[in-house]
């Protein structure tokens, strides 16, 4: 404590100014996980409700929103590793990278579909149960959609990293977005090898890139 104060004194005004400007950034990394989820959700929901293009189903705008606001808070490598289970170690570092990229594209696209369906839903945040030392927590939220009597739980599994809290799994109504892929990935690898799985994912992503006429 004392040493910091001494250093502060010795600091040039310019360096102090710089530090003052950067302080909020450093703070963002120490934000509690539930606060982080809430602030991001509120921010995204505000954009969703305001933006007419997104409501009309403009996939590019949704993708931009996800890329800038949501992606930085996800750990896709870990997500891919969990989905790959024991096959992760079979994959070479290049394959692991390709898998992560393709899986990320697929998840982002899935997420965009879910978000563009978002209209007048109401999000509730459950109190977070955790101890200060925890490095792995579940942030629970509930989404209520109009026309339905029951809210759907959306839980974020988060881990503490040097760069702040990162989401490594999302559970919708108790269903994990990541482990749901395990069996599919395992059987693809069994049948066609790791490269076969990468190809299937890339193929799926190409199909998804074309807008579907079935949009509801």
């Amino acid at each position: 404590m004392k040493t910091t104060r001494v250093r502060m004194k010795a600091m040039s005004p310019l360096r102090f100014l710089l530090l003052a400007l950067l302080a909020p950034l450093a703070q963002a990394q120490n934000v509690a996980p539930d606060v982080l989820v809430k602030s991001i959700t509120e921010e995204v929901v505000t954009v969703l409700k305001r933006d007419k293009d997104i409501q009309a189903g403009d996939p590019k705008k949704v993708a931009d929103l996800i890329e800038t606001k949501i992606l930085p808070h996800f750990n896709f490598t870990r997500m891919t590793r969990i989905a790959m289970a024991r096959n992760w170690r079979q994959a070479s570092p290049e394959q692991q990278k390709e898998l992560t990229t393709e899986f990320q594209t697929l998840l982002v696209r899935t997420y965009s579909t879910a978000l563009s369906n978002f209209r007048d839903q109401q999000v509730d945040y459950k109190p977070l149960r955790w101890r200060p030392g925890d490095t792995d927590v579940t942030v629970r939220t509930e989404v209520k959609q109009p026309g339905s009597s029951q809210p759907v739980g959306i839980d974020y599994e988060m881990e503490k990293t040097p760069n702040g809290w990162k989401v490594y799994d999302v559970k919708v109504g108790g269903v994990s977005l990541v482990t749901t892929y395990r069996e599919t990935f395992a059987s693809e690898v069994r049948a066609k090898g790791v490269d076969g799985l990468i190809k299937s994912l890339a193929e799926k992503n190409r199909q998804g890139a074309q807008p579907k006429s079935d949009k509801t």
């Binding site: 870990r78 590793r81 969990i82 790959m84 289970a85 024991r86 992760w88 170690r89 697929l106 696209r109 899935t110 579909t113 879910a114 369906n117 007048d120 959609q145 109009p146 026309g147 339905s148 009597s149 029951q150 739980g153 559970k171 109504g173 108790g174 269903v175 994990s176 977005l177 482990t179 749901t180 892929y181 395990r182 069996e183 599919t184 059987s187 693809e188 299937s200 994912l201 799926k204 998804g208 579907k212 079935d214 949009k215 509801t216």
Partner: protein
């Protein structure tokens, strides 16, 4: 009385069958899905029926009826369920939940005008999700193999048989007037399908193989419900850092 005994016997036989099915569960490729060839065929059939009939009707339902009306209908059927949910709370020794669901039933049936308004939720009386399959699960009955039922979709040996019990206890199925009963069952079914329209469009986007995706999601969902949203973590052998 005799009727009751026969029913109990039928249930025992059914449970025994579920146990036996679970016993041979190692025959198939996936230990949880030994009936995969049949299941896949039934899944495609259901999917075709859904695409041709249910989904279009559900879309129409959602397009024609305003949100508040759909919520009212959904609330009405949800309220009717609460009695049986309450019974299942008690069968699982969850007395506080039982009290909550009874309170919901009482408030919503009266002040909520036959359940059309869900005032209980507004004042913080949360609905619990219970059915007989979950009660069996709570008592330690394993889910048994995954089974895709005609028209009804994903289930398991345990939950499929338990569903028969749920149906027996379902006031909507017990309506004497057959045309009225069929209408009520139909409206409820379409309403539920309409609530799932967004979810199913997400699945279309997400799944590499829809059959496997739906199976895994369903099994996770049921496990999660049996543990009331907090299932013990499954061993993450492979999530090595």
């Amino acid at each position: 009385m005799r009727n009751g005994v026969t029913k109990a016997k039928a249930l025992c036989a059914a449970l025994l069958l579920a146990g036996t099915l679970a016993g041979c569960a190692t025959l198939g490729d996936n230990p949880r899905d030994p009936l995969e060839p049949y299941n896949r065929a039934m899944f495609s059939f259901n999917d075709a029926v859904d695409g041709a009939v249910l989904k279009p009707v559900a879309k129409g339902y959602r397009a024609v009826l305003p949100g508040f009306l759909r919520t009212g209908i959904s609330n009405f059927f949800s309220n009717v369920e609460d009695a049986w949910i309450c019974v299942n709370d008690l069968l699982q020794g969850k007395f506080q939940s039982g009290l909550d669901d009874f309170g919901r039933l009482f408030f919503n049936s009266t002040f909520g005008i036959a359940g059309v308004f869900d005032f209980a939720s507004d004042v913080g009386m949360q609905k619990n999700n219970e059915d007989f399959g979950q009660t069996l699960g709570w008592w330690g009955v394993g889910s048994g193999p995954y089974v895709v039922l005609p028209f009804l979709g994903p289930s398991t040996a345990r939950d499929g048989l338990a569903f028969l019990v749920d149906t027996q206890a379902d006031p909507v199925w017990r309506i004497d007037d057959v045309p009225l009963r069929n209408t009520a069952v139909g409206v409820r079914f379409i309403g539920r399908r309409a609530e799932l329209l967004d979810a199913t469009s997400v699945i279309e986007q997400a799944a590499l193989d829809k059959y496997t995706f739906v199976r895994e999601a369903w099994l996770q969902r049921r496990r999660n419900l049996v543990y009331d949203g907090e299932p013990p973590r499954e061993k993450d052998e492979d999530d090595s850092r």
